[in-house]
Each structure stands twice: as C-alpha cells, then as structure tokens.
Symmetry: C2
Subunit: 407 residues, 2 copies
C-alpha cells in the first residue's frame, strides 16, 4: 500500500502516456481507446492502485480491469434525498479507502482489502432519482430509457435501476469483497436488484492497448474514440446541467450470445456477418485491425464488406457518433453467455443512439445476439476529500448532505 | 506455444521443487499442501502450460489456478459404454490440445485458445457409470453418495452426476473457451447439469504456497497433507480396483456462507468459532498459522480453543484422516456466496468422512454455513498419447473404445 494522501486540489488520477507510449508497445494501435493510466503502476500487480479522487471518477476511461461487477440498486425511498446523500458519502469514503488497499470504515474482513489490484468504484444515478420535485430540473435531458427496439427481448430483472455501482479489479477476491462492503452498507435503504459479473482476459495476458476478444472469438472494441477528445466525447461540460460537469453517461446493454447457432456457421460466413476477419480483426478490405474499412470496394460487382454487416451498419455517419466501449464477457449458469456491452459518452442520445438504431433496424449479427437488459445512468462527477460523490447534484436542495456538500 | 511433443513414456507432468523451494519462498509454510509444479513456468503467465499427459491427471495436486469450473454432466444413456469411451477419448484429445495452447480439434474460436494460462482439464466418473452390468464389479467401494447429514440442505440442482469435468486456468476467457469446447462437443450425449464457477485470488497476488482466504476472510486450507505422502494419501494404489491405479477421488460440497449473520459477530467471537485468529490464521494457542494447536491449554479453567470450534472438531483423530483441500470461492447472483469445498483423497470414506461426520454432528461454524450440494467422483488415472482417459476403466468390456484402449 503505497497510497499517500495528496491534496485533492493537486491530485490528478490519470497520467496519460499518450500516443507515443502506446505505439511504443509495438501493437500498432492508433492513439484511440483506453490510455495507459497509472497511479502506482510500478508496484507489483496486486498492489497497484488507481486514485479514487479527481475531477472525474476512476473506472470510466481507466483501462478495463480483468473483472467487473455492474450492480443495479433501487432506493427504498427515492424522495429521501438525505438518504441518497448518505449513500453517496458512504460510497465515497469506502471507495477511497478500498481503492487504496485499506479496509472500509466498518469492514468485517479487513484482510480482504489488502490487494487493491487496480480496484475502481464508479457510481451513477438513474432517471427515478430526478422524479422528486427538488431534483426535477436537474435531470440531464438524455437520462431516460432508450427507445424500445424490435430486436430487444428485455427482461425486467436486468432493467433500469435508481443507482449504478460499478466495481472492477484485476483480482476476483478483492472485487467480491469490495462489492460486499459497498452493497451491505446500504442494503436496508438501497437493496441490490441485479449484479452483472463480467470478465476480460487476466491482467498481463495482453497489453491494455490491444483489443480483446469476446466469447464469439471476435475482436471486440476496435473502434474507440481518440483519447485527445475525452473532454468533448466523454466528459459532460455542464452546459445542460452545471452539476454534471466532469461527469458522463453509461449505457449498459446485456446482450445474450447464442453460441450454439453461431458455431454452426463456417468461418467465411462469420467474417461476412462482422465485416472483419476473425484472426486479426482487419476489415475484409484491409490487412490490419485498424485499417480504415473501404465500404465502396466490390469484387465481381458485390461489396467486399456487405452493407448489412455489423461494421457497415455500426459505422458512424457523423463525427459526433463516437462513444467508448467498455465491454465485459459474461458466462453464467448453463449456457447463459454474452456480453455486458457498456458504453460511455457525454451524451448517449446524440453519440450512441444513432448507431444503436441502425443496428436494431438491421445488423446481420442480430441473428445470433439478443439484448436482454438495458439501462442508462448519469455517471457522477469525481469526488474530492472535501466534496463527496453527488455533492453538486444535491447542493442546495435542503438536505443535510446537500448542505454539507454544497459550495 | 512452447509445447513440444514428448514421448508419453518419458513425459512427467510435475516437477516438484520440494520442501526447500517452498521454505525458500519465505512463507514459513511447512512442506504441505500444493507443491510448486511446473511445466513451462519460465514463460510469461499467459503462456504457462501444465502437461496434460502423465501417470496422474493434472489439476489434482496442481497448485490451484485463479479460476475453476466444476461441471457436472449426465449421460443420456449410461449403459452405452461405447459413447462413454468416445466422450473420454474426445476430452483426452481436446484436453491435451487446449492445455498446450492449441485449439480443440474442431474449434470454432481457435484464437481463444492461445493463452493456456496453466489450463488443466480433469475428469471423474460418478456412481451411475457402474450401474451397467459390464462395469458393476469395477466400482470403487467408496464411490457412492456421502451419508446424509443433519446440517445438509441439499438442492438437487447441485447433486451427483455421471461425469465430472473440471477446467481451471488463470485466465477467465481461456477458461470459458475451454469449458465451451469440451461441453459443446458432447452436449447431445452428455448434457451439462450444473456448472459451479469458482475463483481464488488472481495469479501473482500471493505465492502458491501461501494459504488463501475465503469470503468470510478466514485463511482456508491451512491443514494440508504432506506432498511426500501423495502416493499413500492422494493416489489410488489399485489394490481395490486395478483400473484405478494412479487415479483418485474428489468430493465436491457446495457450502453457502451467510455473510449477513456472520458479519454481525464481533471479531473475538468469530475467532472462537474457528479456533484461529483472523489476521494470520494462527491457532488461538499459537502465534503462527502452522503452529500446532494446543487443545489442552486452558485459561481460567476454560479451553483457549473451544472444543466445539471448527478446528477442534475438524482435527484428525487418526493419521489416515488427511485429504487435500482445493477450495474455490463462489459469488453468484445476489447474495449467493460460499465455497466450492472440493477435496481430493485416495479413499474418501476412510480419509474424509470421519471429520465430515464430526463437523456435521457439531461445529460452531455450522450456524453460518449450509451445505447445498454434494457429489463424489472417481478421478480417472492419467492419459498418455496412446491411452486416453478411461482406457483402463473400459478395457475389455467389449466396446469399440474399450477394445481400442485395452492392453
């Protein structure tokens, strides 16, 4: 545990080594996607920490950890803003401690907190938080359920909740413990509705900058926005809702993948469905993963990349249609296999929805994938030691927390 | 992929560095428990492999990987020994390939096989395999359900199956893929009944020789048999059933842990329940984890380690009451938390059952733990390239596989 107390004013969570660093890793990736952030990356993996405090929450542009728990909770009384403030203050205190490798404030298993393993704790709020009169005019315009799509087979058990808590770490025991501490502390006032447990390849299996594969074997997340444009594409600028400046939004789509029928396809057809090769993810018109797809190219009069393929349908029609993909695999029960497709963007309606609508209208891949869960959250701005999560949201609404946090 | 083809006659999976190596790691552990086995441990973690072929199956005394899937399958027709032989041959072929970092024989996602990450594939058979006349006299005398215990609240969904497949690896994507390949290949003849997914701390968080903690925060698995006695305590000697020489047995108990009520206890009472301290696992009469507990010691006339505590009840009454613990944590759904308590021993009735009976009669810990699943399997002897898993079991029983495998 190397965590030192820094002044919140000068603490900066992320140090982005930038394009040169990424290219230097020899991956040939463009300066897109997740940066190489660090707080204590010189430490051995189990001791590595990511700073909790900062202008933005950790766990949003952070290179994804091996394991993540997406946790949906509902407030017993969404009108009780004092309780909401209490929850967010508690998550701030315990989040800051646990991510440093320290036990939670009243942690019954302090020994399980000693290997932070890049733990992050990230918090969002759902639409119902703004249903109460005091917050009605603070709702971001885009914070509402996505329109329903004909491809959806949504199950209520994976639906929208009032609160989102995302815990993520490279060590599954650390993660289980952090999840336990943060959820047990609020269980009488905000019980857990669902937990979606996701995984990616173990830390160290491949460089952070390399695109990972989903359980269909596809490289998943090739298209990522350039990190240089985070302030525009990821972080809310506060123009619509000043309290949200430095926050963001997260869409969580739970997508079941039908392994049995997918595996009936030969490799050629599977590549046509995607528009990319399976081996290195290159567009069918290129040779490397990050080659620009050529949707005009034909062979014998037929487009090399089918117009109905996943990448042809997904590709952005406008520059602003960019969002960060943070996908995790899930593999639960017997044959419950799929993807927790979570995306981050400043404005989901403007940046995410257009491509989602095109994919819902038609995407060859839809035959093997079924969205079974959908939810949208406002990710809160970052906390400092003086100002807990949600302070700007609850400022001057007449609650104890709001007053304490205001200013 | 550094796997080289070796002659099965000279291939030896495990190279045990032994007591000196373990002590040299500075952990202060006795030469008990899991050895430091290696096949390709000089490679980076994702490329490390454990040899599939050998006198014994891998994954039994192998230091536990971070993730394991315990998979129970039932044969559609347990009388069809030809089909059983086919399944075991297929698992041998694909097990040998996947554990080397090579795709399965007809692997739809070969790219997911490239990071073996110490993958092991381990196979056992349940009692119903011996219900058919041809195998009736090959049933090991101990291969039967454990007697029912008053503490049990067994759920049929976690019950005995015909076949056991254990896949384990340090990378969760590699593991999901191997599980998929091995189960999909047999799904029409041996569908999966349950999968129990378990985890331990991530590879590298702590040395293999160090005892891990369960989700109650207890050091779990301090008592392990000395590796020097594997031939006596772990490996079947073939005296009862010659075909099983080199095999073993596995008991799998799924034990739900009630986090809510456990966490209501203060630290002192929790330590009295166990008979060990929470911080370093030392018996309450000692200072280090591996100190011998002194059950006679009293303070003010009261035993320091309560006679009803877990370690007082569990401790062996005879030298042969020793077995290897391979416990994995589970954390599923909302609040489904516990331990996949799997044990390995040459004879479960002689070695495991006595302490299990004592614990069922009384163990202070029983108030917070509930066994909800129980199953017993014979772990097959190891395979060679000439002789697949189950060859000795099925030899000369008049099936195609049996004939092919015999001799």
């Amino acid at each position: 545990m190397t965590a030192s107390r820094r002044s919140p004013r000068i603490s900066r969570r992320g140090f982005l080594t930038g394009a040169a660093g990424v290219a230097g890793a020899g991956i040939g990736a463009a300066a897109v996607g997740f940066g190489v952030e660090r707080s204590s990356h010189d430490a051995e993996p189990a001791r590595q920490t990511l700073e909790f405090y900062g202008a933005h929450q950790a766990g949003i542009t952070t290179p994804p950890q091996s394991h993540a728990n997406y946790i949906g909770l509902n407030l017993k009384d969404p009108n009780d803003l004092g309780t909401l403030g209490g929850i967010l203050t508690l998550w701030t205190q315990d989040g800051a401690r646990l991510t440093r490798g320290e036990p939670g404030l009243s942690d019954p298993e302090p020994e399980l907190a000693t290997a932070p393993s890049r733990l992050t704790v990230t918090v969002g709020v759902g639409p119902r938080v703004f249903a109460t009169a005091a917050l009605a005019d603070r709702r971001p315009s885009w914070l509402a359920p996505l329109p329903s799509f004909s491809i959806d087979r949504l199950q209520e058990r994976w639906g929208q909740t009032d609160l989102l808590l995302v815990t993520a770490a490279d060590d599954p025991v650390t993660l289980a413990h952090a999840t336990r501490i943060l959820t047990a502390a609020v269980r009488t006032i905000a019980p857990v509705t669902w937990i979606q447990r996701g995984f990616r390849t173990a830390r160290g299996t491949q460089p952070d900058s390399q695109t990972q594969r989903n359980l269909f074997g596809q490289l998943d997340g090739t298209e990522q926005p350039p990190r240089q444009r985070d302030d525009e594409l990821i972080w809310n600028d506060g123009a619509d809702q000043p309290w949200l400046a430095g926050g963001s939004s997260m869409v969580i789509r739970r997508i079941e993948m039908n392994m049995d029928t997918w595996e009936e396809l030969d490799r050629g057809p599977r590549e046509l469905v995607m528009g990319r090769t399976l081996d290195n993810g290159a567009p069918l018109t290129g040779t490397h993963e990050h080659d620009e797809p050529d949707f005009e190219k034909t062979q014998g009069g037929i487009p090399v990349i089918p117009a109905s393929s996943h990448i042809a349908r997904a590709r952005r029609r406008a520059d602003h249609e960019q969002y960060l993909r943070r996908a995790y695999n899930y593999d639960d029960g017997v044959g419950e296999t799929g993807l927790i497709f979570s995306t981050v963007q400043a404005d989901p309606v403007r940046q995410f929805l257009p491509s989602q609508q095109r994919l819902a209208e038609h995407d060859d891949l839809n035959e093997w994938t079924v969205p079974i869960g959908s939810a949208v959250y406002a990710l809160l701005p970052g906390a400092t030691e003086d100002s807990p999560l949600g302070a700007s949201l609850l400022a001057s609404v007449g609650t104890a927390s709001g007053v304490a946090a205001g200013g």
